[in-house]
């Protein structure tokens, strides 16, 4: 019996999830010693053909971070799915789409136009855009295709477990690895973090009244919250009521409200919709015009409600005009 094989892979990722593993690595040497890492682009040598050569299912667990944005990433995760017993979606981007998932409010044409034509430093009179294939004097150069839509990992391949967070905190990563090694995993499909809402573990929860009533939403830009009082009660958007706990209340401890990187609580299918309900219930008015005026103090509801979770939301992306016509 060899040691269980483990793979780490990244898709459209910032590398922060990789750093999270590196940060942890020294602390889990005995765990690392108990597994055989067959793929880890950031830290170890690997070859694609080595992964191809493995029998299907030979990798005990693959930890995949980042969302799926290009054809190359899609092919990689499909390969890893075939080769792996378990696939763990690692971090917010793989789990719920992550901050770069906000790009689903736009499409490829808009993204290219902004990046290559419209930014004030662009020098691109010919409106040159990257191509999947380019003929240069010496031959052909190829690039993977850039999709219109950012997808979560489970929108591309079946996923067995989820490790939430941007990036996931060390204790949860360690627990997950130990549970895999010990065979003590919860049912498939589970998110490997506590089920409670962040509000239930928040150090400010005592100051959160049972019933909140606000006449205005405040913005961090132009007012200074009292760091000792629940942000929501003060009128700042905080996604604590809809967000799963387990992060260690990291943002709250830096005197900033939660933006939901841990994804929805188990009973909330859609983080933003749940948070929308929580925000609307606090607004203290019976007059539709006043309600509209108060809501207008949140000029970017999509960003406020779905900063991390847009691709995993019920709507998933902005309506495409042409693609489905």
């Amino acid at each position: 019996m060899g040691k269980p094989k483990v793979a780490f892979y990244w898709c459209a990722s910032c590398g922060g999830c990789e750093e999270a593993v590196v940060d942890l690595a020294e602390g889990i040497l005995e765990v690392v010693g108990a597994v055989d890492i067959v793929l880890w682009p950031v830290a170890l040598d690997f070859k694609l053909k080595d992964v191809h050569a493995l029998p299907d299912g030979a990798i005990a667990a693959s930890f995949i971070n980042g969302s799926v944005r290009t054809s190359e990433q899609k092919e990689w995760v499909e390969l890893l799915r075939r080769k792996s017993g378990l696939v763990v979606a690692f971090g917010s981007c793989a789990h719920i789409g992550g901050v770069p998932g906000l790009a689903n409010l736009y499409d490829r044409a808009g993204i290219f136009e902004r990046a290559y034509d419209l930014v004030p430093t662009a020098d691109n009179p010919g409106r040159v855009h990257p191509q999947t294939s380019t003929k240069v004097a010496e031959g052909e150069l190829r690039l993977p295709e850039f999709f219109n839509t950012v997808r979560t990992l489970d929108q591309v391949i079946p996923v067995d477990y989820y490790l939430p967070g941007c990036a996931p905190p060390p204790d949860l990563i360690l627990n997950a690895v130990q549970a895999i090694l010990a065979g003590t995993l919860p049912p498939k499909g589970s998110v490997l973090a506590p089920a409670k809402a962040l509000c239930d573990t928040c150090p400010l929860k005592e100051s959160k009244p049972e019933k909140m009533a606000i006449k205005e939403f405040k913005r961090i830009a132009t007012s200074a919250p009292d760091p000792a009082v629940c942000y929501l009660a003060q009128g700042y958007v905080c996604l604590g009521p809809a967000t799963r706990s387990g992060c260690g209340e990291r943002c709250i401890k830096a005197n900033m409200p939660c933006r939901g990187c841990f994804g929805p609580t188990p009973e909330a299918t859609d983080l933003g919709a749940k948070a929308l309900g929580a925000l609307a219930s606090m607004v203290d008015t019976k007059d539709p015009d006043e309600a509209a005026r108060i809501m207008a103090m949140l000029p970017d509801p999509a960003g406020a409600l779905y900063m991390y979770a847009l691709p995993s939301s019920l709507l998933q992306r902005k309506k495409m005009e042409a693609a489905h016509g």
């Binding site: 990244w10 459209a12 910032c14 590398g15 901050v99 930014v119 004030p120 430093t121 190829r142 690039l143």
Partner: protein, 486 residues
């Protein structure tokens, strides 16, 4: 048909960076391309966001240098709201940024780029890694590396909430102040960091500078590019990582431009190629002349060596000494050899540690007044810091509600994209002749870009510390050799 050697990725599936080298009929290098196969579109989806969310959004560009993005973004939102943070807030930000610079440069020297030197360029690839470094510098030193990184990352966590993607910067200041107890620890950590930086320079001196073949490599011409250099400087033209004016010097070291961040559009333009998702910035007033160096080409470089070249000295005493020693050894300023980036990085390591100590010792960081609340209507702003990998530009425009209408980002590694491509091509040209791939090629190519510590994550606003895979193929496409950079 003439024999042709192509260097391409192991397969189209693999990796986030790839190199294509084409040979001519005689088997000499006709051209080399560095391709970045990804993009995430931050400039686009910034549109419609609240500008105060940008310091929380933009760090996700890169989990390797999230702190730098958080700082640039914080300075940009200040500018958008026309607000000047109180002194304590500025110092807290710079303190976080300094702690980050020390831990990131440390990571590069010991884990990423340093192994080439510490273990040696000719050592077998299997030893050119952190384990090889430990073998060379000793376990005790390795423990010290891990310890100091942990301590510095704890400073960022204490103030920023999260070390990967801190959240403390808000328009006009920071969300969290420094307590007396925190300061005690910061001072102790900073003192440790200064000693550690000196120790690291000592390691470099003993292992690299004492070895003639390494020194020859550093001062030799394989990696030499005569380019323009860019970096932030303070009022006395000394290097600064957090604030100041942007100074550009010519390949002969003369001041070419000095401008405040808000004027960057006058000075920088970006060229686009259809074969990469990355853009190629150049100096607008010189012009894009293709992938070539010299006074007439607008290609410029950023990051440690460029910053030292663009400055006239260091603002802290021990770093100044090291700076002088470095240029004396390299034979004056500017230094054009790409491998000197490693040395310059260590001079900066010492500067950042000394600066961290100054800031931690400064009583003013205890001042509870850490925020100036914005009152003006938000409009437009530019914020610049020096990230470990180079000058980082953020630029946002908003409507009167503070909703972003346009954003532009020129991130550290992107500034160097043309130069990195050139360095790879140059190394390839030097090493491939008559269709023969010399053994040293792969490591030499690897060293060419490793010196820049490139982060294609940032570059494409895309992926992280990006592995780069190169396959050398013969004319029939059969793989001869595989190279990768972690």
């Amino acid at each position: 048909m003439a024999k042709r050697i192509t260097i391409d990725p192991v397969t189209r599936l693999e990796g986030h960076g790839k190199i294509e080298i084409f040979l001519d009929d005689a088997g000499n290098v006709a051209n080399a391309y560095l391709q970045i196969p990804e993009l995430r579109g931050f400039e686009k989806f910034a549109e419609g966001r609240l500008v105060e969310d940008m310091p929380r959004i933009t760090p996700k560009i890169c989990g390797v240098c999230p702190t730098a993005h958080h700082m640039a973004s914080g300075k940009t939102v200040d500018a958008v709201y026309h607000v000047d943070p109180p002194p304590a807030a500025k110092k807290i930000r710079e303190l976080i940024n300094s702690a980050f610079a020390v831990e990131d440069h440390t990571l590069h020297f010991y884990f990423l780029g340093g192994p080439d030197f510490v273990v040696g360029p000719e050592a077998p690839a299997a030893e050119r890694n952190i384990l090889g470094v430990i073998g060379k510098v000793g376990v005790e030193a390795a423990t010290r590396v891990i310890g100091i990184r942990r301590r510095l990352r704890a400073i960022i966590t204490a103030l920023g909430g999260r070390v990967i993607h801190p959240v403390c910067n808000v328009p006009g200041g920071v969300s969290k102040g420094v307590t007396k107890e925190m300061r005690e620890e910061f001072i102790a950590a900073a003192e440790d960091a200064v000693e550690f930086a000196k120790f690291t320079l000592g390691v470099f001196g003993k292992i690299v500078l004492a070895n003639k073949s390494y020194v020859d490599l550093v001062v030799g011409d394989i990696y030499l590019h005569r380019t323009y250099y860019m970096g932030l400087v303070d009022a006395q033209n000394r290097l600064n990582l957090y604030d100041g004016m942007i100074r550009v010097v010519t390949p002969s070291g003369k001041e070419f431009a000095k401008f405040p961040p808000s004027e960057y559009v006058e000075h920088i333009a970006e060229h686009v190629e259809p074969w990469s998702y990355i853009k190629f910035p150049y100096l607008k007033k010189v012009g894009w002349k293709g992938f070539t160096d010299g006074e007439t080409s607008g290609v410029y470089r950023v990051a440690p060596l460029a910053r030292l070249n663009a400055a006239e000295g260091m603002a802290t005493p021990a770093a100044q000494e090291e700076y002088e020693r470095m240029y004396a050894t390299l034979g004056g300023k500017p230094a054009h050899n790409t491998l000197a980036y490693h040395w310059a990085r260590l001079v900066e390591l010492l500067y950042a540690a000394e600066r961290l100590r100054e800031l931690a010792r400064d009583e003013e960081i205890l001042d509870p007044h850490i925020r100036t609340l914005p009152t003006a209507t938000p409009t437009e702003g530019v914020g610049v810091v020096e990230a470990p990998r180079g000058t980082l530009y953020h630029h946002y425009k908003t409507d009167e509600r503070g909703v972003v209408t346009e954003a532009n980002l020129i991130v550290a590694t992107v500034n160097n994209s043309a130069a990195i491509s050139m360095s790879i091509a140059r190394a390839a040209r030097k090493l491939i002749t008559n269709g023969e791939v010399r053994d040293g090629l792969l490591n030499m190519v690897e060293m060419a870009f490793r010196a820049y510590d490139p982060c294609f994550a940032c570059a494409t606003h895309a992926a992280g510390q990006t592995p780069l895979i190169v396959t050398v193929r013969d004319a029939r496409g059969a793989p001869l050799r595989v190279l990768r950079r972690d």
